[in-house]
Amino acid sequence: MIHDKKAHKYGMVIDLDKCTGCGTCTVSCMSENNVPFKEDESDKKDSITWMRVYRLTNNKPFPDTEVAFLPRPCQHCGGKGDHGHSPCVSVCPATATDYGYDTGIVSQIYTRCFGCRYCMAACPYHARYFNWWDPVWPEGMEKYLSPNVSPRMRGVVEKCSFCYHRYQLAREKAYASGSDEIPEADYQTACTTACPAGAIVFGDLNNPSHKVHQIVKPDPHPDPLNPDVVGKSRNPKVFRLLERLGTNPKVYYMSEREWVRKLGDHYLDGEWEKVKNVYGSASHE
């Protein structure tokens, strides 16, 4: 086993100005992780999409209408103060979901989950999905399932794992080569590699040589306006979803458009202007 000199903190930044909403990330995720699907996938409230793409709009009439697409994997929250007490991890009664302090990844132990769904209730991102049915694949398709990811049974919760099996493979490869460093290119999630627009950048937020770190420039200190928030981006174009709740996600979003960034969180009247002034977003308009 490799004993890392410094804990990793894997995360991603998604450029919403590049995302076309094509859904390739969703498809690649489902294929990579053996995500089951129904014959009729039209009801999105009970279908499983680890990576779900939301459609955002600025709500302006034509010709000023603008649209953006927001892919939403599990946010792998670090929880208040980034101590690992993610909203879901802290509530799971059977320790079936856990926070990896060595990777920052929130895991899900399918064989331990007994399906109480408290984690789903606690997650504000709707990133957790319940297996309402047993997984059924069209005849022959089971031969194409990934051998690296265990399929889930009816009655348990599942979610994006940041393709943890890929991390394991990369770790094994590094070990075999006698290195204790996992090269950036060796551990990339399926959605990152599949995105045709290159909108998703994945890597170690703690590693200054990784592109994701360079884009996000995470602030390791607590936010002076909200001490629960740690890892806030120092890039004024970058934001996190519902950052004010203190969930401390490791998925960041990026956009040049102010209305898109504003849709990342809730603001009372006049608050957005203050936020812009404090964090300098206005200077980039």
Partner: protein, 417 residues
């Protein structure tokens, strides 16, 4: 046919009439059992729950029955620890109602989990940080306590009591019941509280999240308080229904008035705390997270401010005032109105703290999610009601549940003659 089992001197309806009633309610029970088996064998796809509604009707039913079942622990506390002796005349019934409520809650939980055979994982792989773990441990332990509290009453059955061992066991269990009442109150404080904590700790859900004291959100204390306040109202309501069905006065007015008075003051003080909590949440907690109060009560087809008014004013403050005021408390009509409103009020509170939490959108671009339960969910929720009716009917028929029954009805018989 079963006269030898009926408490001595007590009058009961004929056995065929009794069995007819049991059969009718039993049919409803079987309908619920059928739905339960569907859920167990086919899975939770039999429900209308979805990924927005991981918690739905069943969790509400769980929280509601546990809240109204709170009459058992609070009446026990008053009787055995605070030595309010008059309550001995209603404590048996409070315990039976509590037993029904808690066994129902455990049954519903067993149906509600996706992998019922793994239910024991909550004890084996317990996460001490989870409020649900605390609920599971305290709920199970308290159910054991309620069973112990129920046993002496069962052993007082006319035939069982003839067995010397059972007679002495019942007598001795009564003697040490204060220990179990204290244990029950302690356990109830934690499981009622942790049910409130289940919602209050969800800091990703601003509608649910509450600040608090150390690891306990304010909702922890409010749930315990409300169960102690509203639970006795449910005991009084079921007593009133039982009196109506049997056509007999079963508990003296002074006992009813006393429990109603205590409940009234508990409701009144709880409502003060609840209003402060709601005000603080609405003006500090939620806005601090970027949410205006209107976010939680507008832009959807069901949850409006009406539900807040109904819970806090109509079914909270009003029954509290009706019960602390002597003239309205001792007026049977006003008292009945008050206890019905109170029971509805605590059920609305539990509904809001389960279903409205799920309904409110949190991400700015998300939408409200409303839900209508499937017939399987409804049937399995009615199942415990049918089971409760049957258990009460059987207990009333064969056990000396109400110590004042004979005295009260002898008097009325004399008066009639």
């Amino acid at each position: 046919m079963d006269a030898a089992l009926i408490p001595e001197g007590a009058k009961r309806c004929s056995f065929p009439k009794f069995m007819l009633g049991i059969a009718i309610v039993g049919a409803v029970l079987l309908w619920g059992v059928y739905a339960m088996l569907l859920c167990w064998f086919k899975g939770l796809n039999q429900t209308n729950m979805n990924d927005y509604y991981g918690f739905a009707l069943w969790i509400w039913a769980d929280l509601a029955v546990i809240a109204v079942g709170g009459g058992a622990f609070f009446t026990g506390l008053l009787k055995y620890i605070f030595k309010i002796d008059e309550l001995k005349n209603i404590i048996n019934f409070a315990v039976i109602i509590g037993f029904i409520c808690y066994s129902s809650a455990l049954l519903i939980l067993a149906i509600d989990i996706g992998q019922p055979l793994r239910g024991w994982f909550i004890f084996w792989h317990a996460n001490v940080h989870s409020m649900l773990t605390e609920v599971a441990f305290c709920l199970s332990c308290y159910f054991a306590v309620l069973t112990i509290e129920f046993i002496p009453n069962i052993l007082e059955n006319r035939q069982l009591n003839k067995v010397p061992f059972f007679h002495h066991l019942a007598h001795n269990m009564h003697g040490v019941m204060a220990i179990f009442a204290a244990t029950g109150a302690f356990l109830s404080f934690f499981h009622q509280g942790s049910l409130g904590g289940v919602a209050g700790v969800m800091y990703g859900r601003p509608f649910a999240f509450r600040e608090g004291l150390l690891i306990w959100p304010w909702s922890f204390f409010l749930f315990t308080w409300s169960a102690a306040a509203f639970g006795p109202c449910f005991t009084l309501l079921v007593t009133r229904i039982t009196e109506a069905v049997t056509g007999k006065k079963l508990v003296k007015d002074n006992v009813i008035h006393l429990l109603a008075k205590i409940s009234g003051w508990m409701i009144f003080t709880y409502m003060i705390a609840k209003i402060i909590d709601t005000w603080y949440w609405a003006y500090y907690t939620a806005p601090g997270l970027g949410f205006e109060l209107s976010h939680f009560y507008t832009s959807n087809g069901f949850y409006g401010y009406w539900i807040l008014v109904a819970e806090v004013i109509v079914c909270g403050v009003i029954p509290g005032l009706l019960l602390i005021n002597k003239s309205t408390r001792e007026n049977p009509t006003f008292r009945l109105i008050a206890i019905v409103l109170a029971v509805i009020g605590v059920c609305i509170n539990r509904w809001v703290m389960v279903l409205q939490i799920m309904a409110v959108p949190v991400m700015p671009f998300d939408t409200w999610a409303l839900y209508i339960p499937s017939w399987q969910e409804v049937a399995t929720t009615i199942l415990p009601v049918a089971y409760g009716i049957i258990l009460i009917a059987v207990a009333y028929r064969y056990l000396p549940v109400f110590p004042q029954e004979l005295e009260l009805n002898r008097r009325s018989e004399v008066r009639e003659s």
